[in-house]
């Protein structure tokens, strides 16, 4: 491996002094752009540190409150989503969903494994750009059908087969910009499903073709209800930007469920500049969304699912404590599949990376067969055993949520509340209104 300059080291008697402004990373970035002639593209989510759920800690029961028995007493996790307008709600056995990830971004085996795992756990999965993969309906007991700006592969028959529809306005990884699927993943099968020429770089539209703003969205939502006879809930997914206003507008437009995707949300491919410099983090976005629904008198009526950077049951429990009804995971589920597993080291090296730091989904050369359309690489992910790993991980999330709830004396994970937590950083305290650890009242500016 090539090593960069080491601060403080001596070369020919002189001390090496890398610049903070013109750091080795910045130099590499400029020289890469000078070579490729465009913005850099990569996958995963932002690399930067954000204010995050890890900046909160639970303060369980001691003498002032009585805990539930941590390993024994019943703690409810079942969650009903989307019944606002009389549709059949989605029943989640645990308040987690699998986020929309397309067949194209993911291999067929990965999609299948996620569907099987979710079905066994009793949660929903979501389609993605390109529509419903053949067999996806059968793989997932509860399936959310996305209505994306591109409408690639959109089929009203599939919509009617779904358990919910999700109108995607944007995503946290790249709000304000459409999807991206590069040439290497645009196989003949994927191209045909999307009615695109094989081998093109697909740069999806960001605006919907038949509506723009919230007034239009209201009519679009009504159209989806007409197409499904009002049977299924309608979700609206938005990237976390002007959350207070956006959530109010989505709720006013008739959304049964709002899916709010924060800055830490990931993607299969994106201009790097968008990953690192757009949207606000999931934790403050959650706080704003809950406030928006509360101000509109819709808390508990419009359900809130938050996503972006949810890594485990503890992050999920903190999101619930802030007021979310459920969380959605993407990257964590892929990691459970085997993403970044320290195997096939040579293949990671060929991509210029290592296991544990790979974010090269956009290349289609995924060493573990998850984000690829290469049949040989896909074989590295046998769906049955991969689904078992995801199932186990989801179960661990449930157990961690219950653990936190029981420790805080709650017999339902949804009864967790901000008062059960303290902030570990000043920023977290300011954005959540939760007291900084050691203080008895919230910080306020």
């Amino acid at each position: 491996m090539e090593n960069g300059p080491v601060a403080g080291a001596r070369v020919s008697g002189r001390v090496i002094r890398p610049s903070h402004i013109w750091s080795p990373e910045v130099i590499e970035d400029i020289q890469e752009k000078a070579e490729i002639g465009r913005y850099r593209i990569r996958a995963y989510s932002t690399l930067r540190r954000t204010v995050h759920f890890e900046d909160l800690t639970f303060v369980p029961c001691t003498l002032t409150r009585i805990p539930l028995e941590g390993y024994r007493e019943r703690c409810e996790t079942r969650t009903m989503i989307g019944g606002r307008h009389g549709a059949e709600p989605i029943v989640l056995e645990t308040p987690v969903t699998i986020a929309g990830m397309s067949y194209g971004a993911l291999s067929a085996n990965a999609k299948q494994a996620l569907g099987w795992a979710a079905s066994r756990v009793g949660i929903s999965t979501t389609t993605g750009d390109g529509g419903m993969r053949p067999g996806e309906r059968e793989d997932s007991k509860a399936l959310v059908y996305q209505v994306l700006p591109s409408r690639y592969g959109f089929d009203p028959h599939h919509l009617q087969m779904a358990d919910a529809a999700e109108v995607v306005i944007g995503q946290g990884a790249k709000p304000g910009t459409g999807g991206l699927l590069l040439e290497s993943k645009m196989s003949a099968t994927i191209a045909e499903q999307r009615t695109l020429p094989e081998g093109v770089d697909q740069r999806s539209p960001v605006r919907h073709p038949d509506f723009f703003g919230p007034d239009d969205l209201q009519i679009k939502i009504e159209e989806l209800r007409e197409a499904t006879d009002g049977r299924i809930p309608i979700y609206v997914k938005i990237g976390a930007c002007r959350v207070l206003e956006d959530v109010k507008l989505a709720a006013k437009a008739g959304a049964d469920v709002i899916v709010l995707d924060g800055l830490e949300g990931a993607t299969g491919a994106s201009p790097e500049a968008l990953l690192d410099h757009t949207a606000i983090p999931t934790m403050p976005a959650t706080v704003l969304a809950v406030r928006a629904l509360r101000e509109e008198g819709l808390e508990g009526e419009v359900n809130l699912i938050v996503s972006g950077g949810i890594r485990n049951g503890v992050d999920a429990a903190k999101a619930l404590a802030l007021g979310a009804d459920a969380v959605s995971i993407g990257t964590a589920a892929l990691i459970a599949l085997n993403c970044n597993k320290p195997v096939h080291h040579d293949d990671y090296a060929r991509l210029g990376t290592q296991a544990g730091a790979c974010h090269h989904c956009h290349t289609g050369a995924c060493p573990v067969g998850i984000t690829t359309q290469d049949p040989e690489l896909s074989k590295r992910l046998p769906p049955q055993e991969a689904s078992e790993r995801v199932e186990h991980f989801l179960n661990s999330m449930t157990m961690e949520m219950q653990m936190m709830a029981r420790a805080c004396g709650k017999s339902d994970v949804h009864d967790l509340e901000p008062e059960d937590m303290r902030a570990l950083t000043l920023e977290a305290s300011l954005v959540t209104g939760i007291p900084f650890a050691g203080m008895d009242r919230p910080l306020a500016l």
């Binding site: 490729i36 919509l159 009615t195 073709p209 509506f211 007409e226």
Partner: protein
Amino acid sequence: MAAVAARALEIDCAGRPTREINREVKRAASEGTEEIVLLNPGGRHNLCVALFDPVTVKVRGDAGWYCTGMLDGATIVVEGNCGWGVAENAMSGLVEVHGNAGSGAGATMRGGELYVAGDTGSRAAISLKGGAVVVGGSVGYMSGFMMQRGSLVVCGDAGEALGDSMYEGRIYVAGEVASLGADAVDAELDDDDVGFLRGELERHHVDRDPSSFRKVVAGRKLWNFSKKEFEVWKTAL
């Protein structure tokens, strides 16, 4: 509601919720009714959405947004004007609009045919994935934007940025084109094109010489990025 002929049905929309009207249309169509007439549509939105049976529906008046959206197999005649998104994402079937249509007419259609006798707003045939959109009058700006497959026929004029960023498909314009969009280029009209146009014009009783149309297709420079064609990408993105 009153039967007007065997296997035909009239539905008066006045004062009734759209859900109830659509349910009745679908129920009648699924039971074999061949023709349904909707009276007093009143410009309401979402009429005849996701209609999958081979029935003919005549809408006696104006319809609002998304009329006949997600159609698959039916024939709908709107004897008035339509709002945005008429026949959006239609899979198959035929939609005829005797008046004008709003923006996004035939958006993302995957099959079937939309004929608008009058003009449309902007973005007609946006992201078209199959089938044909035929407009007797003119279309607004960005029509054929990101078109993927299928045909857009414009018997009048086309607004600015026609065919912007289209992947594939064919656009034919008889009148003036305000401007072509990024990576949309002229192509020579061949015998197949003239034959196709003749068929469409005859079917819809449009008196135009099929050989007089201008043909626009994708230049394909936006299919894959090239740093040597920066000007194309600067304009496109």
